[in-house]
């Protein structure tokens, strides 16, 4: 009789047990060479940002604590937070903030609603016509605001202007308190709508067409596809446009206000930036203007942070 025993098959040998050590750690020099390049590439941009953005910002803050009339050679006088107290005490500040809110609300149709409609419709235009159409929509963006303002001033002229003739009205658009603000909003809207259309179009192209195709096969009508699929998936783009509008509307209107109404009539088009500009360069009160600048900067940071949070919460990302 043969006797024997079962022997377990040994697992594969691991190198470490055999006394072979894994590759040594890299030296600090190769490590530095591996990690440094991105920072080196970023340095020029950071330097420019510091010189042109953060340093002036710091100087503005310093200036807001002084009293100065902008005349070179006259001494700056340190006044503590007096400028801020003065600023918050003026009734003009509240009014200009409210007018800014009105401008922002008035701009939203031009930066969000109309662009979405136009972009959705132009999607159905095919071939070369699509390019031509987009160019036409985008063209106003390329007109310098001041040049545009001159043309609009002429169009809105109370006696001979084309607008009154077409509408059959007799309105002094830029010199009446209600219509002046409206005119500024419409002209600014005309300027930026083309850009917004471009942004929305880019957002639409970024959506995988399979979703709309699937929805159609699932039985959704064209308007259901738009409401249930396209618009929700476009929400990051829309959030971006809203954010842009809130943060930049007051800046976009500035050249128009300066050329067309100079903040009037009776201050009805004076928004926060125009107010700041008036303090600084009309009243030569650099400290007050700087205080306003610092305040608006802080305010917009808060608004931007809140809006970004909200957008993150509400928008759907296609991955």
């Amino acid at each position: 009789m043969v006797s024997g025993t079962f022997v377990e098959v040994a697992p594969p040998l691991r190198a470490r047990e055999a006394g072979v050590v894994p590759a040594s750690r890299e030296s600090w020099w190769t490590r530095a060479r591996r990690i440094a390049p991105p920072y080196l590439y970023l340095t020029p941009a950071v330097v420019l940002l510091v010189v042109w953005t953060y340093q002036p910002l710091a100087q503005t803050f310093v200036l807001s604590l002084h009293s100065w009339n902008l005349v070179p050679g006259t001494p700056m006088e340190e006044v503590g937070i007096a400028n801020y107290e003065r600023l918050l005490g003026t009734p003009e500040l509240g009014r200009s903030v409210w007018r800014t809110v009105v401008v922002i609300l008035g701009m939203l149709p031009f930066t969000v609603v109309i662009p979405v409609l136009v972009a959705l419709l132009t999607r159905r235009v095919r071939g070369r016509a699509q390019g031509v159409y987009r160019a036409l929509v985008f063209a106003p963006m390329l007109v310098a605001p001041v040049a545009g303002a001159a043309v609009w001033q002429w169009l809105l002229d109370p006696s001979a202007g084309a607008v009154n003739r077409v509408l059959g009205t007799d309105v002094n658009w830029l010199n009446t308190t209600g219509t002046a603000q409206l005119s500024i909003i419409v002209i600014t809207g005309w300027h930026v709508a083309g850009f917004a259309v471009l942004v929305v179009t880019a957002g639409l192209t970024g959506i995988n067409p399979d979703y709309a195709a699937a929805a159609q096969v699932d039985g959704a009508s064209r308007s259901q596809v738009t409401r249930w699929i396209t618009l929700p998936l476009l929400s990051p783009t829309l959030a971006f446009l809203v954010l842009m509008t809130v943060l930049l509307s007051a800046q976009w209107t500035f050249p128009l206000i300066d050329t067309l109404t100079q903040g009037g009539p009776v201050g009805s088009t004076t928004n926060i930036y125009y107010l700041l500009w008036e303090y600084g360069f009309r009243h030569h009160d650099a400290g007050l203007a700087a205080a306003a600048g610092v305040l608006f900067f802080a305010g917009f940071i808060v608004v931007a942070a809140l809006l970004t949070r909200l957008a993150e919460r509400l928008s759907h990302h296609d991955d």
């Binding site: 195709a213 699937a214 159609q216 096969v217 699932d218 959704a220 009508s221 929400s235 759907h316 991955d319």
Partner: protein
């Protein structure tokens, strides 16, 4: 009832003809597999059926309705996309319920139906998740659920298994086949995978550069390939194709070539004719050296676990032989290979179309 008929369907994209004059009659309850290599127009054909693309030419019928110009919403077809196209902003439950919501079902009924479908697909625990929180296999099930939630006239599936790993693919393949058996609904299934086609189809429509290369049951397509393309597309390793000449000797036909002499088992006298000779790897056997057959030299032996594939060189042609392991040969061996006449396929040397033998009806002389 849903019989889908394609009559001369053609689709061009500029200079590219993606689908070229396809005629198909898909019977009610059939599992038709559209098979072909990548870029042969399978997805385009499926999108044409779904109505997502208008055909350049041709007509499409569902039973007695001309669907050619009917928008996809009204076609009553359900489609599973290769990318699954799950709506990323909607939960699994809302994804599956989407077709019902579009049909304006009451909320409570949608919820009940979704729960039912989710239960059959094992998705109940995932109903509140978003698609990006799902694995590939789970996404595939949700896509399937979205198609199953209503009772469509036919299912269109575009490579539904191509994004799954091998094991999951085998399991899901069986499930889809089972689903087809239990529902009895017409399915048009696109794949480039011959195993899926062979195992699931009631009929295979093989596409080559937008044209229908062959239409038939899996065994017909495998056993009697209509062209060199069909012969080499199905089967693994692919059918061996060798250049040869059909020659008659002693009153019977044989295929001759460089180091090749194989009897065709046909008694006839014909002038010589150049052909392409096809024989599947599993139909080749090793014969005693020096006899009639294909004389070749073994270049490599591949181990598939249960079987072996022997790669050989015969003249300038490569030949693969497949058989149970071990086949008992090794690289460098000189071998002689034979095959039974009924396992030899002949194709026209110019067109690549299959040649069949048609005995002439000899006038009764006795």
């Amino acid at each position: 009832m849903s019989r889908i008929q394609l009559q001369g369907i053609t689709r061009r994209f500029g200079p590219v003809t993606a689908v070229d004059d396809v005629w198909l009659d898909i019977a009610d309850g059939e599992f038709l597999v559209l098979l072909g290599p990548s870029g042969c127009g399978k997805s385009t054909l499926l999108r044409l059926i779904a109505g997502l693309l208008p055909p350049t030419e041709g007509r499409l019928w569902l039973d007695d309705t001309d669907l050619t110009h009917v928008p996809p919403q009204q076609r009553d077809l359900a489609m599973v996309f290769q990318s699954y196209a799950l709506y990323p902003h909607l939960s699994v439950a809302r994804n599956i319920g989407f077709p019902l919501r579009a049909r304006k079902w009451p909320r409570a009924e949608i919820r009940a139906k979704v729960a039912e479908v989710a239960a059959t697909l094992g998705l109940t625990a995932l109903l509140d998740r978003k698609p990006k929180e799902l694995s590939g296999g789970q996404r595939q099930r949700v896509a399937l659920g979205r198609a199953l939630v209503r009772d469509p006239g036919a299912f269109l599936l575009d490579e539904p298994l191509s994004n799954l790993d091998a094991k999951l693919r085998t399991g899901t393949r069986a499930e889809i086949a089972e689903l087809h058996r239990s529902l009895g609904t017409t399915m048009v299934y696109v794949t480039h995978d011959q195993v899926e086609a062979m195992t699931m189809a009631t009929r295979i429509a093989l596409l080559d550069e937008g044209r229908l290369a062959q239409l038939g049951t899996p065994s017909e397509v495998y056993d009697r390939p209509a062209s060199v393309f069909a012969a080499t597309f199905l089967g693994s390793p692919a059918m061996n194709i060798l250049d040869a000449t059909v020659r008659s000797a002693d009153g019977s036909l044989a295929a001759h070539g460089k180091g090749i002499e194989l009897s065709l088992g046909i008694d006839a006298v014909l002038p010589d004719r150049p052909v392409r000779l096809g024989v599947r790897p599993e139909h080749l056997t090793f014969a005693p050296a020096g006899g009639r057959g294909i004389h070749a030299v073994v270049t490599a032996v591949e181990n598939l676990g249960s079987e072996e594939v022997v790669q050989c060189l015969a003249g300038e042609g490569r030949i693969a032989v497949r058989g149970p392991r071990p086949l008992g040969v090794s690289a460098g061996d000189a071998v002689t290979l034979t095959a039974r006449p009924e396992h030899l396929h002949l194709f026209d040397s110019a067109s690549g179309r299959r040649l069949t033998w048609q005995p002439e009806s000899v006038p009764a002389s006795v």
